[in-house]
């Protein structure tokens, strides 16, 4: 049996496939032939269909004429040509193959989708066009107002600018990145000569470091005072190349050039520590340590994570000097060591804090610029208008593709989380990050802020504000990165305090203490805790009677103070940052941890890469 629509040709005559030929061959009167032709043309059929329908209609009219009807009667009986064409087209389409109908359906669905998409785009574009941000806060100004409330005599920045002026050109060894200031350094003589000839500059740094705050005013351009000081020092010349100052700049666009200056100053004072030791000037050594810690305190007092990270790094500089130095009686009396111990122990209230106030302001600033404001804390993404301003604030040329970027804004507006959603996620992240910050390092695995950070990123907010990620300071949860750095340096602090207490014990008793208990409480308030376990830090005397202070390290195994593999003592603690991820299994290869959380034997490249995770971390061991 034939399928639907199939015609059974039992005739053997040649069949025309051109409908015009079919009509011509039929020999119908012109008016009738015209009706057939018009019907076929209007029906817009496939070629074979046209010929077939034409043959049938021609046969129909021929039958009518043969039956004695006139052409006019037949045309009248035929009815409306337009309606006939339309119905024939619809009927023939129904009889077409499945693939054709599927294609038609897909085409119709695609057209509908496109139409709906365009309508939605126009709706969101209109919504974006009629909305404008409500930039109600000038967050950088709010922070600057705090600084203005502090008397000028308590602000260090003017003195640091004077340091730049007096320093003149940066010493060449610093330009070359050769500023380790170690006696074994081949450039030591050059460094020592420079330090000696700039004693007044170093004194000025110490004076500045004693002031309570830095007092740097936030702005999107280079601080005019810094620009002038750099010119006076001969470090820069030519016309000022800077971004025009914006009254209410993007928080993410404010510059913090003072941080780099403070790091340089800290390195110079660290160098002067080495020189002071060589000159047996314990007082200057202590002054330098106090000043380095003062600069760290100033940075930690700023509300940005990046400032606090610099504060942590500067603290690290001071503690390294203490841990590496030989604090012999020829330079330091007992009182000196006690004072140094108090200085270090009391620094930053005993524990450096990382807070997220500045980050919160930064994100609130982004929201007020990129979102509409319904007055009740909600709104939708309208970023377009602000994109230009962002480039202007950063002093960047607007990219050629900017119109395309702007055209994409309605799409972003449609898919972006609402202002309230972003705000809620941020609140949860900052709230949990602040809580996590208080956790000791051996409880890293209890942190939940990274999960909120991931949620925030998954919400799509990162695609709207790419600078957000860098603004918050890290590719991964900044709470983890910043706090891990802090914990690392706090471990150094604990080690430095043990070293000072042990030195005092040596002076009084002629021997190193055999256990930490002997130092407590007269020389050390309490036993420092191992950052990996929360248990008391390990202290042993070697067979030669030399003390070793150590942590059991990532693997949690007490190797008796032996650093195995490539571990090189305290050097390995510098890897605290990634070690901190260990409990969350970040960065470690699959199967690296056994059921107890200890490190399983590693092979191949992993063995080298993660060697720091093996063995003990030696925090202090006298030379």
């Amino acid at each position: 049996m034939n399928g639907p629509g199939a015609s059974v040709h039992t005739v053997r005559k040649p069949v025309h496939t051109d409908f015009n030929a079919v009509i011509s061959v039929a020999g119908l009167p012109d008016p009738v032939a015209g009706v057939v032709r018009e019907t076929i043309v209007r029906a817009r059929l496939w070629r074979a269909e046209r010929a077939d329908v034409a043959r049938e209609l021609c046969a129909h009219f021929a039958d009518g004429l043969s039956a004695g009807a006139t052409a006019e009667e037949l045309i009248a009986d035929f009815g409306d040509v337009r309606r006939a064409s339309s119905l024939i087209r619809a009927a023939k389409r129904r009889g077409r193959p499945v693939w054709y109908r599927a294609w038609r359906l897909a085409l119709r669905a695609a057209a509908t989708t496109v139409a709906l998409t365009i309508a939605a785009y126009l709706f969101f574009a209109a919504r974006v066009l009629v909305s404008s941000p409500n930039i109600a806060h000038n967050y950088s100004e709010e922070l600057n107002a705090r600084t203005r409330g502090i008397p000028e005599s308590e602000r260090a920045w003017p003195l640091y600018l004077e340091v730049i002026r007096r320093t003149g050109a940066r010493p060449s060894f610093m330009e070359r990145g050769q500023a380790a200031f170690a006696l074994t350094d081949p450039y030591w003589d050059e460094q020592a000569a420079w330090l000696k000839s700039h004693a007044d500059v170093l004194e000025l740094i110490r004076e500045a470091a004693a002031r309570p705050v830095i007092g740097y005013m936030l702005a999107n351009d280079i601080d005019p005072g810094l620009d002038a000081a750099m010119r006076d020092a001969g470090r820069i010349s030519g016309p000022k190349v800077s971004t025009p100052r914006v009254e209410n700049p993007f928080m993410i666009g404010v510059l913090l050039p003072h941080l780099g200056e403070l790091r340089s100053h800290a390195r110079l004072l660290a160098g002067d520590c080495t020189l002071a030791l060589r000159e047996k000037d314990g007082s200057r050594y202590r002054s330098n340590i106090r000043a380095i810690l003062g600069m760290a305190r100033q940075c930690l007092g700023e509300p940005f994570i990046i400032s606090q990270l610099v504060g942590v790094a500067i603290t690290h500089v001071a503690l390294e000097r203490v841990l590496d130095a030989r604090l012999g009686p020829e330079v330091f009396g007992e009182a000196d060591l006690r004072d140094l111990s108090h200085e270090i122990g009391g620094f930053a209230g005993g524990r450096m804090r990382i807070d997220f106030e500045g980050e919160r302001y930064g994100v609130l600033d982004i929201l007020q610029r990129y979102y509409s404001d319904d007055g009740a804390g909600d709104g939708y993404f309208i970023g377009g208008e602000q994109i230009d301003a962002l480039y202007d604030d950063f002093g960047m040329a607007r990219p050629r593709g900017l119109p395309l970027l702007r055209a994409y804004v309605p799409v972003q507006s449609a898919i972006a989380p609402s202002r309230r959603q972003v705000q809620n996620l941020l609140d949860r992240f900052i709230e949990t990050a602040q809580r996590d910050e208080a956790l000791p390092p051996w409880k890293h695995h209890e942190r939940i802020s990274p999960l909120w950070w991931d949620r925030l990123m998954e919400s799509g907010v990162y695609t709207l504000f790419p600078p957000l990620r860098s603004f918050l300071g890290s590719d991964k949860a900044p709470s983890v990165a910043a706090v891990a750095a802090r914990d690392m340096v706090e471990t150094y602090r604990a080690a430095a305090l043990v070293k000072l207490a042990a030195e005092l014990h040596l002076r009084r008793h002629g021997t190193w203490p055999s256990a930490l208990d002997q130092l407590i409480p007269s020389l050390l308030p309490s036993a420092p805790l191992d950052p990996m376990t929360g248990e008391p830090m390990h202290y042993v005397l070697s067979s030669a009677g030399v003390p070793v202070l150590y942590s059991v390290g990532v693997d949690g195994v007490d190797n008796g103070g032996a650093a195995t593999g490539e571990a090189q003592g305290r050097q390995e603690v510098r890897n605290f940052n990634w070690i901190a991820y260990f409990r969350r299994e970040r960065g470690l290869p699959a199967g690296a941890l056994d059921a107890q959380g200890a490190l399983a034997p590693l092979t191949g490249a992993d063995a080298g890469r993660f060697s720091a995770a093996r063995g003990d971390w030696i925090l202090w061991k006298p030379e």
Binding site: M1, N2, G3, P4, G5, A6, S7, V8, H9, T10, V11, K13, D52, V53, R55, E56, L57, A59, H60, A62, D63, G64, S66, A67, D77, F78, G79, D80, V81, R83, A84, L87, I88, A90, A91, K92, R94, G95
Partner: protein, 121 residues
């Protein structure tokens, strides 16, 4: 009497299927038969008939084929398929049920329904 378009939309296909149940027919023949056998009530113009035939063909209820008539002209004839026969039987049952219902409502005279009930399929 002309039938409303909506009614004709339901009645037309059944009428065509019924006519073809009696044997193969071509378009002009179907028009004449509809006109004659329904006393003009179901008469339809060609502009309606051919789309109706193509629809039934698309549904697989009828099939068309070309054959040379005695006059020597080619004509496209139509005949019922098996599916068409089944559909016709179903439609007839429905129309009869409808007629009985109409009789109950007094829309149709009792005599016409009785003759329907006893008529051949």
């Amino acid at each position: 009497m002309r039938i409303e378009q909506q009614l004709m939309r339901g009645a037309g296909p059944v009428a065509i299927l019924k006519l073809l149940h009696g044997g193969e027919m071509y378009g002009y023949e179907l028009i004449k038969a509809l006109d004659d056998q329904s006393e003009g009530v179901l008469a339809m113009g060609q502009s309606s008939l051919y789309p109706l035939l193509y629809n039934l063909e698309a549904k697989g209820l009828i099939e068309g084929f070309w054959r040379e008539a005695d006059s020597g002209r080619d004509r496209k004839y139509y005949r019922l398929t098996d599916a068409g026969k089944k559909r016709l039987a179903d439609d007839i049952k429905q129309w009869r049920a409808l007629a009985v219902a109409m009789k109950g409502l007094g829309v149709l005279p009792a005599s016409s329904v009785e003759s329907l009930a006893g008529g051949a399929s």
